[in-house]
Symmetry: D2
Subunit: 436 residues, 4 copies
Amino acid sequence: MIQRTKLLGSIAATGKRSLSASSRWAEIRDIAELPHRTSPRYQDSKNGDFLTLQWPSRPQNILLTKKNKTPAITESLIEFAKHIHSEYEPINMIVEHHVAKEVHESLPFPVYTTAAPKDKSMPILHDKVDLVSTLGGDGTILHASALFATTKHVPPIISFSMGTLGFLGQWKFEEYKRAFREAYVSGAEVSHGRPALGDVAAPESAETETSDSQSWSSIRGKLMGSNHRARVLLRNRLKVGIFDANGQRLTDDAGTPSQEHGDVYAMNEVIMHRGANPHLTIIKVLINGHFLTEAVADGMIISTPTGSTAYSLSSGGSIVHPLVSSLLLTPICPRSLSFRPLVLPANAQITLRLSEMNRGKEVEVSVDGVRRNKGLGLGMEVRVSGESVRDRGGVWNGGVPSIVRGAAGSDVGGDDHWVGGLNGLLKYNYPFGEGA
Amino acid sequence: MIQRTKLLGSIAATGKRSLSASSRWAEIRDIAELPHRTSPRYQDSKNGDFLTLQWPSRPQNILLTKKNKTPAITESLIEFAKHIHSEYEPINMIVEHHVAKEVHESLPFPVYTTAAPKDKSMPILHDKVDLVSTLGGDGTILHASALFATTKHVPPIISFSMGTLGFLGQWKFEEYKRAFREAYVSGAEVSHGRPALGDVAAPESAETETSDSQSWSSIRGKLMGSNHRARVLLRNRLKVGIFDANGQRLTDDAGTPSQEHGDVYAMNEVIMHRGANPHLTIIKVLINGHFLTEAVADGMIISTPTGSTAYSLSSGGSIVHPLVSSLLLTPICPRSLSFRPLVLPANAQITLRLSEMNRGKEVEVSVDGVRRNKGLGLGMEVRVSGESVRDRGGVWNGGVPSIVRGAAGSDVGGDDHWVGGLNGLLKYNYPFGEGA
Amino acid sequence: MIQRTKLLGSIAATGKRSLSASSRWAEIRDIAELPHRTSPRYQDSKNGDFLTLQWPSRPQNILLTKKNKTPAITESLIEFAKHIHSEYEPINMIVEHHVAKEVHESLPFPVYTTAAPKDKSMPILHDKVDLVSTLGGDGTILHASALFATTKHVPPIISFSMGTLGFLGQWKFEEYKRAFREAYVSGAEVSHGRPALGDVAAPESAETETSDSQSWSSIRGKLMGSNHRARVLLRNRLKVGIFDANGQRLTDDAGTPSQEHGDVYAMNEVIMHRGANPHLTIIKVLINGHFLTEAVADGMIISTPTGSTAYSLSSGGSIVHPLVSSLLLTPICPRSLSFRPLVLPANAQITLRLSEMNRGKEVEVSVDGVRRNKGLGLGMEVRVSGESVRDRGGVWNGGVPSIVRGAAGSDVGGDDHWVGGLNGLLKYNYPFGEGA
Amino acid sequence: MIQRTKLLGSIAATGKRSLSASSRWAEIRDIAELPHRTSPRYQDSKNGDFLTLQWPSRPQNILLTKKNKTPAITESLIEFAKHIHSEYEPINMIVEHHVAKEVHESLPFPVYTTAAPKDKSMPILHDKVDLVSTLGGDGTILHASALFATTKHVPPIISFSMGTLGFLGQWKFEEYKRAFREAYVSGAEVSHGRPALGDVAAPESAETETSDSQSWSSIRGKLMGSNHRARVLLRNRLKVGIFDANGQRLTDDAGTPSQEHGDVYAMNEVIMHRGANPHLTIIKVLINGHFLTEAVADGMIISTPTGSTAYSLSSGGSIVHPLVSSLLLTPICPRSLSFRPLVLPANAQITLRLSEMNRGKEVEVSVDGVRRNKGLGLGMEVRVSGESVRDRGGVWNGGVPSIVRGAAGSDVGGDDHWVGGLNGLLKYNYPFGEGA
Ligand SMILES: NC(=O)C1=CN([C@@H]2O[C@H](COP(=O)(O)OP(=O)(O)OC[C@H]3O[C@@H](n4cnc5c(N)ncnc54)[C@H](O)[C@@H]3O)[C@@H](O)[C@H]2O)C=CC1
Ligand SMILES: NC(=O)C1=CN([C@@H]2O[C@H](COP(=O)(O)OP(=O)(O)OC[C@H]3O[C@@H](n4cnc5c(N)ncnc54)[C@H](O)[C@@H]3O)[C@@H](O)[C@H]2O)C=CC1
Ligand SMILES: NC(=O)C1=CN([C@@H]2O[C@H](COP(=O)(O)OP(=O)(O)OC[C@H]3O[C@@H](n4cnc5c(N)ncnc54)[C@H](O)[C@@H]3O)[C@@H](O)[C@H]2O)C=CC1
Ligand SMILES: NC(=O)C1=CN([C@@H]2O[C@H](COP(=O)(O)OP(=O)(O)OC[C@H]3O[C@@H](n4cnc5c(N)ncnc54)[C@H](O)[C@@H]3O)[C@@H](O)[C@H]2O)C=CC1
C-alpha cells in the first residue's frame, strides 16, 4: 500500500542467483532459513516512565537498515556488521534486499534477506527479526518502523545517527560498540554457566529451549547485570485504516488487504492533503463517531506524540512528550481563524472523511512521509485510533520499542534526551542576542 | 494565601448572633454541628473514559455556592435550596458565610455555615461536605474548587450555568430537578426496605452504620437503579508549592502553612506574570530538576488539561482533552520566535524560578485567577506537578469529581459535552461566510 | 502559462460558424470589430484613501464574466446583460468564448468574444475592454483579474457576489441596477447637450473624439453628478517572473513569452509548494538580491495585502489592509520554530530559489490559485516585486481598480466594507458564548 | 506624564550650586545658555528607501544619553565626550541632569543640562539639541526618543550598542570615531573657506548667519563630501492621546497638558493591559470612528513597524519592515480563537476604549515600556494614529531620524542591517540541527 515498502524489492526476480551461491563469503541467504524470533519483555522501571528491556534468551537475528545513496553510511554498516559478527557469534545479519546486493561482497559471512515479493516479505520479517538497528536519520527510523507497519510486535530498535541529525535517534555512531552491547545483553546474567534471567520469572514461551547458541556465556566481555538493563521508550503508534464511501476497507496497491486486519501502523502521523491540486480540501472530522468539525484546509494531520515534533510542529501543533498517551489533530493551513490543534486521548477514534463538497477532487494520503499510490475520492475516509500498548493483563505489548540513552538504574533523568533534542536540535526558545 | 478565600469571611466576629438564634426559620447554624461527610466511590464505566458515582449511603450535607452580586442567581439558589429541602429531607444545606447572611431569611429551614476564620474554615468544609452544587459560571466553579484547594478529597460537584455561560459547567439551571436527583441517588438501589449498594462490595468504612437518615427509602419517587449512575469526569489538578531562594516553603498570607503539606491544588492553572511592571520577566524553567529553558516573557502558565481552554488557550496553547493525563507549559508573550507550548506527562515536576537577572523586580503568582497577595522575589520559585488520581491500589482518589451529562449506560458518546463546548461556546473552527 | 487562461478556449477552431452567422439575435461576433477601449482616470478623494473613477467619455465595451457550472448564475448574467443593453444602448457586451456559446441564444442582441487562440486573446481583451463585471465569488474575480495578468492597465472591475460569498466582492446581485449605474456614469455631467467631464481638465488622449455613441445625454435617468463618483480601491498586484538556473526567463506553456516583458501580475499571491511530493522543500529567499533565509517547508507564499485574507491567512499571516503598500512573505508549514511572517515594502524585490539540496524534486508554482503546468527544478527561481500604482508624474496607473461601496462624497468611512468583511465573513474575533 | 521623564530630575532644587560654579573644569551649565538648535534636512536617496542627512551648518549642541547603573558605559560616555570635544571644538555637550552629576568631574570642559523641573525641561531640549547620541541598548534609544515625545522635530539620533545588544542600535561603540564623523559632517562641503551646502538650496531659515563656530573649515581631517552623506531611516511614530469618558483630554501626572496639543509620540507602541489584575480586560476597538471589535484579553498593543520586533512580536504579530507605512494592532492573550494581528494604514485613527463591562477595574497604559502613573477607568480611551512624516510640500518632517549604516551612495543594500538583525539577533528561521 505504501511506496516505501517497494524498497524491499523484487528479490524473487533478481535475487535467485545470489541466493544459490555456495560460498559463505559474500553469500546472500534466504531469511526463511533463520530460526523463529526471540521476543523480549518490557518491565516498568522504578520511576515508572521508561521500561527496561529483558531478553529471555540471546537474540540471534539482527536486522540492519540504513539510509540509501550515502556511501559513508554503507561503509559504516559494513564496519558495524563485522563488529557484531566477530563479537557476538553465532549471530545472523539480516538486511533489506537492495542492501544485500550492495554489501554482501564486502562481508566475510553470509547476510540474510527476503526472496519474496513485497507483500510476503513483511510477514517473514515480523517472524524472524529479534532486534533492529538503523544507521541514518529520522527517515531511516521511520522506514524501519514501516517494515513493521502491519504487526503489533515490533522488535526493539536501536538507532544510530549518521551525520544527518535526527530527533528520534539516540546514539551517535561512534558509540556503537557500547550501545549495541547494552541493547544486546540487556537483562542477561551469567550464573552456573547457564543463562540467568534476572528478575524475570520465566521466558515468554515455555517451548523456548535454551540451546547453546542462545547461551549468554559465549559472549566475550562482561555482561552488564540485571541492574543495567537497556532503557526503552515505547513509542505509541496510530492504527490507520482506509475505507470507501460504502464502508468497505480499501486494500493496498496490490489489491490484497495488507494484513489480517488490514490496518497499518504509523509512528509519526497520517495526513490527508490537497497534494498538487491548488484548491482547498474539505474534510469532515468525527471523534468517536460524532461530528467534530469540517476542515476547509490544505489538509489534516493526525499525529502521535512522537510525530508532534515533525509535520504537526510545522503546522503549529504543540510539542507533546512521547510519554503523554494521546493523539494530535492538527490542521494544515486551515481557512479559518479559529482552528486550533487538539490533543485527544489515545483511545479516541478519529475519522477524516472527504466531504461530498470536494466535487471530483482527490486528496493524497501519506503515512510517515510515504504517499499512498492512489488518492482518496469523495466519501472515502481514513479511520485512526491510538495503539494501546498494554494488554488487559498489564503486559507491555505494541508500540515501537526504542532503546534510549541512560541505564535504567541511573539517576539521570528520563527526559534528558528529549529535552536535549528540543534545545540542541529544534532550537527551542533559542535566546535572542548575538551569541550563536 | 489566596484572596478569594477571604470570601469565607470573618464569621467569628459577626456571626455569633445569628448562630445563637433559636428559631428554625431563618436560622444560621454552625457547620460543626453536622455529621461527618460521606465519601462516594468512583468506578470505571464500560468504555473506560468516564467514572460512575456510587454513594455508600445517602449524602446529607450539601454545599451550595453561587456567583456574587447577581440577584437573579440568589433567587435561583433559594428556589433550589427549597426544592432540595422538600424532596430530600432529612438534608443539611451549607452555604458560605456571606451567602448565609444574604439568604437565611428567605429559607424556612436553617442553613449551616462556618464560624471560624478563613484558615480554619477550609478544613471543616473538607470534613463535612458530601456534595457541592454551584450556580454561576466558570468562575463560580473555580471558586468552589478553591474551597477544597488544600485537600485531596474534593466532594463531587454538580454545576449549573446561570446566564453567564461557561465551559466547565454542564447543566442548565432549568434542568436542576432531574440533574440533582441523578447526582443524589447515583448508585442507590432500594431492596427489602434497606439501601442496596449496587455492585459495590461494601461501604468505604466498616464503621458506617446505616441510620434512618441515611436510608434511600425515604426519598420520594423512583430511584434510578445501578445502571443509571451519574457520570463523573475526574478533572486532574495541579499541586503547587512556593519556595524561597533557600528552598524554604513560603506560607500563606496569615503566616502559617496553609495545610499539612503546604501545597495548594489548582484546577485551571498557576501563572507567574510581570503584573503591573511594564518590563519583561526572566523565568528559569526546570523539568524533573533539569534545566529546560529560560523564559524571557510576560510570564509562564502551567495548566491542567481543564485549564487548556482558559488562559493557556489565549496564550496560544493547544486544546487538550481533560482525559489526557498531562500538564501544559505555555509561555505568555515570550520574547522569542521559537518558544512553543509543551504538553508534558502529568507526573513531571516543573519548577519556575525567578532568575537572578530580574534585578529587584517582583512577579505576581496567580492560581485559578486569584492572585497571591505577595509577589515573588529573586530566586523564589513555584514547584508544580500533576495530582495523581489513582492510588496504588487502583482506587480513584483526588481530582475534582465533576458530574457530567449522559448516563453511564447510555451509548451517547462521552465527548459530547466537550465537543459541544468547543463548537457552541468557543466557536471552534467557526465557518467563514455570512451565516451566523 | 497558466491553466486558467485555457478557458479562453480555442475559438479559432470551433467558433467560426457562429461568428459568421448573420442574425443579430443570438449572434456571436468577433471582439476585433469593437472600437478601442476608453480608459478612465483615477483621482484622489478628499480623505485620500480611496480614488474616484472618472470616465473621459462613455464606456462602451463591457466584459461580463461569471462562475462556471452554476445555472443560476448563468441566468443572472442573462438578466444583467439584457438590463444593460436596454438601459445603456449603444453598448457592446463581451463574454468569454465558452460563455458566448452558453448564452448567445438567450440574448436578443449580439455578444462579442475572442476568435484567437489563448496567447492572442489576452492582448485583444486588453485593447477592447472598458469595464469588467463579475458574477460569482472571489474565484471569479481572480479569474477576471487573470485575464489581465499581462497588462498594467486593468479596466475597472465591478463584482457581484452570487450565493458563494466572497471577501473581495462588494455588491450583492440584487443591487445590480444601482451599482452598475454608479460605475457607468461615474464622473459624467450633462451640460449643454454635450458631455461634461466634471473637474477633469481633458480626456486622456487628444485624439478622443466624442461621437454620438459616447455622449452621456442618451442615457435614461439622472446622471449622478461629479460629487457622486464611484469609489475605487486600487488593489496592488505582484509582478512575477520565472527564471531558470542560468537566469533565463522561462516562457509559458506555449513556449513563447507570455507578454512583452514576460512578467505576469498576481492579485492574491504566488506560491511555491511541494505539491504531491510528501517531503519538505528547501527554498532560498533573497531580498533585494541579499540572502534572507532558507526555508525548509511545504512552501512559501508571497502575497499582496489583498491576498492577506486568502492563503497567507491560512498559513498564519497577519491581515493587512489593502491600502498598506506592502508585500507579505509567509511560509507554509515551515520546519522551524522561529519562522514568522514578514511584511515588506511593496518595492522590495524578492527571489524564491529552489535550493540545490532538493535533489531532483520539483516544486509547484501557483499564481492566484492556478498552477503552472510545469513545476520548477533545481536552481530555478521566482522573482517577485510589488507593482507600483503611481507613475512618476503622480498619475494612478496599474493595480486592479475595484469599484467599492460608498460614494466618495459621503462620510461613510472608507474601511466599512473591509471591516464588515472581517467581522461578517471571516468571523474576526468572534465572541465566545452561546449566541450564534 | 511618564515616569521615565522624571529622570530629568529636579535640578532646580539641587543644581544651583554647580551651575554657579565658575571653573570651566567639571562645570555644569544651564542648557538655556546654548544657542538655538540647527535642524538638518532629509533628502530622498537614489533608491528611494532611505534618506540622506544634510546639515545647513555645523551642529553644535550634542545630547549624550546612556544606560543607567552601568559603570562601563559611563566610562565610555566620558571617553566619547572627550573625543568629540577635542575633535570638533567649538561644540557643546548636553547630558541629562543625573548624568551631569555623575560625569562632570571627569570632564575637562563644562557640560550643559536642564535646571528646570520635568515639564519645562522637555521643551528646552527640543529647542537646543542638534544631534543625539545614545550609549546602551534599545531601552536607551527608547528613552532618548521619549525625551522628544512631545515634539514633531526629533533631532537625528546616532546609537551605539554597548554590550547589551539591541535591535534598534546600528553601531558598535568601537567604531564611534568614524560613525560620529559621518553623522556630524554629513552633507558638508568646504569651498572658498565658507560652508557649502551641497545640493541643498538654502539653510532652513534665512536668519541663520554662518558665524565662525558654524564653519566646517575648522574641523580637522577630511570632510566626506556630498556623496557620502549619512543615511537616515525615518522611523514613524504613533501619536497618542488619552481621554476621559466625556472626551476630555487627560493631562499628565503634573496636571498640566504635556504639550500644546497634548499628544505624546511613541516609537515602539502604546499598550493597554490588565496589569496586576488577574482578570480579563474588555476593550472596544474603533477604526476611524467605526466599531471594529471588542477585545476580551490581557490587553491590546498598537505598534509602529519599529515596534513590530518588540512586544507585538512576543504577542504573535508579524514582523513589519520599518519602511512600510503602517500601524499594527496586536492583541495580548485574547480570549478568542479568531483574533489575528492586523496591519493598518499609518493614517488610520484607532481608539481603544475601556468597555463599561469592566466594572471598576482599571487598566494600565504604557508607552514604549513606561507605564502611565494612573491607570484608566471605565469609558476612558486611548486615541492613536500614525505620525505623518512628510508635509504637504513633500518635505520630510517628523519621525525619529535614525542614522543607519551604509553610506547613501554605496550599493550596499538598504535592508542589510534590518535583515542582519533578524538573522543575527532575533534568530529568525534559525535552522534545526546540531550546529549552533
Ligand atoms: N489552504 C488555503 O487556505 C488555500 C488557499 N488557496 C487560495 O485560494 C485562492 C484561489 O481561490 P479559488 O480559485 O476560489 O480557490 P478555492 O476553491 O480553493 O477557494 C479559495 C477560498 O478563498 C477565498 N478567497 C480567495 N481570495 C481571497 C481573498 N483575497 N480574501 C479572502 N478570501 C479569498 C475564496 O472565497 C474561497 O473561499 C488562491 O489565490 C489562494 O489564496 C488556495 C489553496 C489552499
Ligand atoms: N512580553 C514582552 O515582549 C514585553 C515587551 N516589552 C517591550 O519592551 C519595550 C521597552 O524596552 P525596555 O525598557 O528595554 O524593556 P525591557 O527591559 O522589558 O526589554 C525589552 C526588550 O525588548 C528589546 N526591544 C525594545 N524595543 C525593540 C524593538 N523595537 N525591536 C526589537 N527589540 C526591541 C530590548 O532590546 C529588550 O531586549 C517596550 O516598548 C515593549 O515593546 C515590554 C513588556 C513585555
Ligand atoms: N512541512 C513539513 O514539516 C513536512 C514534514 N514532513 C515530515 O517528514 C516525515 C518523513 O520524514 P522523511 O522521510 O525524512 O522526510 P523529509 O526528507 O521531508 O524530512 C523530514 C524532516 O523531519 C524530521 N523528522 C521526521 N520525523 C521526526 C520526528 N518525529 N520528530 C522530529 N523530527 C522528525 C527529519 O529528521 C527530517 O529533517 C513525515 O512523517 C512528516 O512528519 C513531511 C512533509 C512536510
Ligand atoms: N488573557 C486571558 O485569557 C486570561 C484568562 N484568565 C483565566 O481566568 C480564569 C479565572 O476565571 P474568572 O475568575 O472567571 O476570571 P475572568 O473574569 O477573567 O474570566 C475568565 C473567563 O475564562 C472562562 N474560563 C475559566 N476557566 C475556564 C476553562 N477551564 N475553560 C474554558 N473557559 C474558562 C470563564 O468562563 C471566563 O469567561 C483563570 O483561571 C484564567 O484561566 C485570567 C486572566 C487573563
